[in-house]
């Protein structure tokens, strides 16, 4: 499972594909305060990034993957509240 809830934090692990956007959205609606853990994440489909941008959750753990770290995390940080 690439999207799951782990003690109040939403973890995105490995490659997250387009279908995961729906799972993520459902989880975030269910857990209004959950932060996002990207530590084990290697890839995010744009649909998943859209959900993250719209939800504006804090990043509990940054990703190791260079592209995610250098480009996606800053984009998430800049997303207007």
């Amino acid at each position: 499972m690439t999207v799951r809830l782990d003690t109040g934090v939403v973890r995105l692990d490995g490659d997250c594909a387009v279908e995961d956007a729906e799972t993520l959205l459902a989880l975030l609606l269910d857990q209004p305060a959950a932060a996002i853990d990207l530590a084990q994440c290697t890839r995010l489909h744009l649909a998943v990034v859209q959900v993250l941008l719209a939800a504006r959750r804090p990043i509990a753990a940054p990703p190791g993957d260079p592209f995610l770290r250098d480009f996606i995390v800053p984009v998430l940080a800049r997303s207007p509240e």
Binding site: V18, A21, E22, L24, L25, L28, L29, R43, L44, H45, L46, A47, V49, Q50, V51, L53, A54, A55, F67, F71, V75, R78, S79
Partner: protein, 652 residues
């Protein structure tokens, strides 16, 4: 002037082939800058060359094409399918004009009119168009200004290119991941992902609609950026930021694309290589005589015999290497042999009122030049047959639920010591029942014999001389004398033809040709008192198994080898005796030669294994020609003739 013409003809064909390749690449990817540049250079060079000869019409047409391509390179015109069709027509026409120059030394009278028509077609394409992917070197758009301002610190050095990618809202449903495409852009410096409007509340979010625009800046060259975005180029704007590096280097310098430097080829008269090949063959035979000498004096002078044998072995290795090196020199890429097919396929398909796409694969596969030279005619005939009898007319295809255009593929690949060329079509297939009926009707076979054939054997009836099932003999493929001629040529080249077909789905014809046309690596095996040569290419492995492990199974025998059950046949039986039903003579160990058939591996019992040699295999001729299972003969050192066996035929 006469001296220059042959050279020009060779060069022109190569340039036309290059241009065809480039136009094919552009058909797949209109943004392929390297292909566009290469096509431009080829046409430009052609234009220059034809100027030396009396080919004014060709010069005019090529000049117009050159202008068209230049406008596309400069970005003031985008490439459309109509443009490509016109350029392809121009290249085809030029190819036909080259034929005329080759045959008559002059262009046909129709050349001027044809050139005018082509030029008019290209002029109709004139005028720039406001394409999304055009480069605009004037004032930056607002989105770009904002991007540059917000990320001024991250821009870095060097020339920059910016993009604005607005994916269609339903792009996810098409399987696109715009982020993955952008992630593949080299040297990305800046990335922004912005929603088109404010984000909806989370519970109103539709996650599978693409709602964002991606903008970014990269330090990679413009061509690379276009390449990375080529599949979505209609959704992208690309803008050069800093003054771009000189867009096109002058033609007199090296090409823009970093192609690996190619060693200047040497043009060699084929006859000289043939002489080398003959020389190698003679060396082999002479060397084999040494081995025989050693045997002769072994009893009286064992030490000298041993040294002669050692010398023979060293020479054999060296001559084998030399033979392979000479073969290598004669190796040419098969591409040029296939080059003339696209135009001919277009012409034949048009004449038949059919629409066909031709795909060629494996053009880099290397093949002996003598085989390449002789291959074109049979290939063309097979292709003609496929177009004529295989691919159905568009209406018939539509009714069968197939796409309107038929698909013809010609693919070459290397398999071990052979080159396999497969010509496949997605047409009507070949009905083996109909073949049987025609064979009986024409007296080729009696009814019982025809019925006794299995489907695979029935398909091979098309190779029988005088066989034609075409209800109307068409001008295109002639009177059905073709396929047996194809078989003859391929067998003369030392090869084999296989055919498979599924009614309603299509057919495939496979030509299997030897890679090394000079020497064949053979294993000598003993069977009773006789020796035979088996091409190493057809041997999977050799094994010695305890005789007890070969057990009767059904009406035959089998044994287990490496956890696989392998059917066991005896070579003696294959060569004309009967397969023994009792276990073999009480020999404790049975020697097996394992070969691969179409279905499964098969073990063949031989009485002993001999030496591995490189032999010059001469195709069977005369009386031998009618013995099935014999591929040819080679001369051994003691002057005797070794029969070289064709295992797949023997086992079948």
């Amino acid at each position: 002037m006469d001296d220059l013409l042959p050279h020009f003809l060779v060069e022109a064909r190569e340039l036309i082939a290059q241009a065809e390749d480039d136009l094919t690449a552009l058909a797949r990817d209109g943004g392929d800058g390297a292909a566009m540049d290469s096509a431009f250079r080829a046409i430009h060079t052609l234009k220059g060359s034809v100027a030396i000869f009396d080919m004014a019409a060709a010069g005019r047409a090529l000049h117009a094409a050159e202008d068209l391509l230049e406008r596309m390179r400069a970005g003031t015109k985008t490439l459309t399918a109509a443009d490509l069709a016109t350029l392809v027509a121009l290249i085809d026409q030029t190819d036909t004009w080259i034929d005329a120059m080759a045959q008559h030394g002059a262009l046909p009278d129709s050349a001027d009119a044809a050139a005018d028509a082509l030029i008019a077609g290209m002029a109709g394409m004139a005028g720039g168009s406001d394409a999304p992917a055009a480069i605009d070197p004037t004032a930056p758009a607002p989105w770009l200004e904002a991007l540059l301002a917000a990320h001024a610190h991250a821009l870095g050095d060097g020339a920059l290119v910016a993009f604005r990618y607005r994916p269609d809202g339903d792009c996810f449903f098409r399987g696109d991941d715009p982020l993955a495409i952008v992630a593949a852009i080299a040297d990305l410096r800046v990335l922004e992902i912005m929603p088109a409007t404010d984000w909806p509340a989370l519970d109103a979010l539709t996650p599978f609609d693409c709602m964002v625009t991606l903008t970014g800046i990269s330090g990679a060259p413009l061509a690379e950026l276009r390449r990375a975005l080529r599949f979505v180029i209609d959704q992208v704007e690309i803008v050069a930021v800093a003054p771009p590096a000189p867009a096109r280097p002058p033609l007199s310098t090296a090409p823009a694309a970093p192609a690996p430097p190619r060693a200047a080829p040497l043009r060699v008269d084929g006859a000289r290589i043939d002489a080398l090949a003959d020389g190698v063959g003679e060396l082999i035979v002479a060397n084999n005589a040494l081995a025989h000498l050693a045997d002769e004096i072994a009893r009286t002078e064992p030490r000298v015999a041993a040294r002669i044998r050692a010398a023979h072995a060293t020479l054999a290795r060296a001559v084998g290497d030399l033979g392979r090196a000479v073969s290598d020199v004669r190796m040419v890429a098969i591409g040029p042999s296939l080059r003339r097919l696209p135009r001919l396929v277009r012409e034949i398909a048009d004449a038949l009122g059919k629409s066909v796409t031709l795909e060629i694969a494996g053009e880099q596969t290397e093949i002996d030049k003598s085989i390449a030279d002789d291959l074109f005619e049979p290939l063309l005939h097979i292709v003609r047959n496929a177009l004529d009898h295989g691919i159905e007319p568009p209406e018939t295809r539509r009714q069968a639920g197939k796409p309107d255009h038929g698909r013809l593929t010609v693919a070459a690949r290397r398999e071990g010591d052979a080159v396999v060329i497969e010509i496949a079509d997605d047409g009507a297939g070949i009905d083996s029942a109909r073949l049987r009926a025609v064979a009986v009707a024409r007296g080729v076979l009696a009814r019982e014999a025809a019925d006794a054939l299995d489907d695979a054997q029935a398909l091979r009836l098309i190779f029988a001389p005088g066989f034609s099932t075409a209800s109307a003999v068409t001008a295109i493929s002639g009177r059905g004398v073709g396929m047996d001629a194809v078989l003859t040529v391929v067998e003369r080249l030392g090869g084999r033809v296989d055919i498979s077909s599924i009614v309603g789905q299509g057919s495939a014809i496979r030509l299997r040709l030897p890679l090394d046309a000079i020497l064949t690596r053979l294993l000598i095996v003993r069977c009773g008192e006789e020796r035979y040569g088996i091409p190493l290419d057809s041997i999977l492995e050799t094994a010695s198994v305890p005789s007890a492990r070969i057990v009767p199974v059904g009406s035959g025998r089998a044994c287990v080898l490496r956890d696989r059950t392998v059917a066991v046949l005896s070579l003696a039986a294959l060569l004309g005796g009967k397969e023994p039903t009792t276990p073999p003579e009480p020999v404790s160990v049975t020697k097996l030669l394992v070969t691969q058939t179409e279905v499964e591996p098969v073990g063949i019992i031989v009485d002993g294994f001999g030496a591995r040699i490189d032999g010059l295999v001469r195709p069977k001729a005369g009386l031998l020609a009618h013995i099935p299972g014999v591929a040819g003969t080679t001369l051994l050192g003691d002057g005797s003739v070794l029969l070289v066996l064709d295992l797949p035929v023997l086992i079948a």
